[in-house]
């Protein structure tokens, strides 16, 4: 029995497909370029990220899927050295102010020496950690523009 379990674990490791931590937040667009997916209220136009079920401005439940701006500036950041199991420490975490006025928390895939407040960045995808079965954990990230 225990041997069967061990084999199953090894099987998972051998076939560990990358997995997105929040698959609804990012899609693959033209030529494979990532698109950041949020919501736009059909009644009042307010943007949300992640896409809201109900508008925080007017309580409408008609929220359309929309592509958010793929560029912005780093409002602030921190190089994180202590985090729960699974994250690839150290990692740079930052708030990115998108050009459409939405603020998004993201991994910033920029060397520590190049990180700076207000630096222009653009959307990307990258590996951010490792899942319980050894699978690479992926997410939207931002890189130097």
């Amino acid at each position: 029995m225990s041997q069967a379990v061990d084999l199953a674990v090894h099987h998972d490791l051998a076939n560990a497909e990358p997995r997105f931590v929040a698959p609804a937040l990012v899609e693959s667009g033209a030529a494979g370029a990532p698109r950041l997916i949020g919501g736009r209220c059909a009644k009042c136009g307010a943007l949300s990220f992640p896409r809201a079920a109900v508008c925080t401005e007017c309580m409408s439940e008609e929220i359309e899927k929309t592509e958010l701006a793929g560029t912005g500036r780093v409002y602030s950041y921190s190089m994180v050295h202590q985090a729960p199991k699974g994250w690839s420490v150290p990692y740079a975490l930052g708030y990115v102010d998108l050009t459409d006025k939405v603020r998004v928390l993201a991994h910033i895939d920029v060397p520590e020496s190049a990180l700076a407040i207000d630096m222009p960045v653009r959307l990307s995808v990258g590996r951010v950690g490792t899942g319980p079965a050894g699978e690479p954990l992926m997410s939207y990230t931002f890189v130097q523009a």
Binding site: V21, A22, L25, L47, S48, F49, P50, T56, Y75, S76, Y77, S78, M79, V80, H81, Q82, A83, P84, W87, P90, Y91, L93, G94, Y95, D97, K101, V102, R103, L105, A106, H107, E112, I117, V128, G129, S139
Partner: protein
């Protein structure tokens, strides 16, 4: 609304008690507060117990250890403001005339998680992207440093001051002075924070007995009055936000000052929520102790150290006394009451007449913080 007074305080030394249950951590603080108050246990009409991660029925578990049961027991979770929110609810129950004698408990056991950063709610999308509490405060620090020209070393001086105070407090979790060089050389947690920029995790409990004027004047010659009791929540946005300004605390402070009829210049002593070094500086500004951008100047002037005009965190604060999340608000209130009664011992603020306690927190996407509770006490 009626006047409300504190007639009993209890506090256990904060630290690590992995072999004790939550109830075992909690009951000694409650017993101390009840004995100090002098009221018979039968007169307790309600209990408000704050705990963030203590699980169901924490208040019942603590109170049954003392055999004091049967009254209304309400458990309150509001992250770092859990027991300060419990105090606010208790205040309302006495001020409104519903009850005359009420117990407030703050109790937490973080050692059950085995260390590391505080476990946050994985349903929160930012937590799901790697947010941890040190990183949230670190981003505030990084932006503040950029906007106001503060250095990481200057920021580290907050920790030096906290541990100077905590070294004098027998109930502090960390009773050790640190030098600025030790602060800067400790291991990195979330840049610009090293370990000494961050509050420790641990266990703790604190309790208060609060009462109406009729009861309080029978028990004490000059009981400390709760001059303001206030709870607010963060304002949601998914747009841009100025992270160098503690909007939630500033809003709460304004309400609390109005309710108490005092201003920042009247405050002799304050226990404020210094979970990380930058927090203390930002809250100096939010409470109006100095202008925006002036916090480091206030710190380096010595005004907020023991012997200064507005002593902040004489207990050592969260950085040194410790921060067992749900216990913090009650512990701050106990500290301020004892300061105003002149029995704080080696970290006494001489002649303190007006003090405030401030517990805020809760990492939650889209809000400055989840909750903020402020109390003003006066003698």
């Amino acid at each position: 609304m009626r006047d409300v007074f504190v007639i009993g305080t209890g506090l256990i030394p904060f630290g690590k008690y992995p072999d004790k249950t939550l109830a075992e951590i909690g009951w000694p603080a409650v017993k101390e507060a009840i004995v100090e108050s002098g009221v018979p246990p039968k007169s307790i009409e309600a209990v408000y117990c704050g705990t963030a991660l203590g699980g169901m029925l924490a208040g019942q578990r603590v109170m049954k250890s003392l055999g004091i049961t049967g009254m209304s027991i309400i458990n309150i979770e509001n992250a770092c403001s859990s027991s300060s929110s419990a105090l606010a609810e208790a205040w309302t129950s006495v001020a409104s005339g519903r009850h005359d004698v009420v117990v407030v408990i703050g109790v937490e056991k973080l050692t059950k998680f085995g260390g590391g950063t505080l476990p946050l709610e994985r349903e929160d999308w930012e937590v799901n992207q790697g947010m941890v509490m040190p990183a949230l405060y670190a981003m505030r620090a990084r932006r503040y440093m950029h906007d106001y020209g503060l250095t990481a070393r200057q920021l580290g001086e907050v920790s030096v001051k906290a541990h100077e105070h905590g070294a004098l407090n027998p109930n502090a979790q960390i009773r050790k002075r640190v030098t600025i060089d030790e602060v800067m050389a400790s291991r990195p947690v979330a840049d610009p924070f090293t370990l000494w920029h961050c509050c420790p995790t641990g266990d703790g409990a604190a309790a208060l007995v609060i009462a109406s004027a009729d009861v309080a004047r029978k028990q004490k010659a000059q009981p400390v009055r709760v001059a303001a009791s206030e709870v607010t929540s963060g304002i949601y946005t998914n747009g841009y936000r100025d992270m160098t300004w503690a909007e939630l605390t500033a809003r709460g402070a304004k309400h609390a000052y109005e309710m108490a009829g005092v201003g920042p210049k009247d405050i002799d002593v304050a226990e404020i929520h210094d979970a990380f070094t930058i927090a203390e500086l930002m809250y100096y500004e939010a409470f109006g102790f100095c202008e925006r951008g002036g916090a480091y100047g206030l710190l380096s002037s010595g005004a907020t150290s023991l012997g200064g005009d507005i002593v902040v965190n004489p207990s050592g604060g969260l950085l040194s006394r410790g921060h067992p999340v749900g216990a913090t608000g009650a512990a701050q209130a106990v500290e301020i009451v004892r300061q105003l009664e002149g029995r704080a011992g080696k970290h006494q603020v001489e002649g303190a007449k007006v003090g405030l306690a401030h517990a805020t927190g809760g990492g939650i996407a889209g809000l400055d913080h989840g909750a903020c509770s402020i109390h003003v006490f006066a003698r």
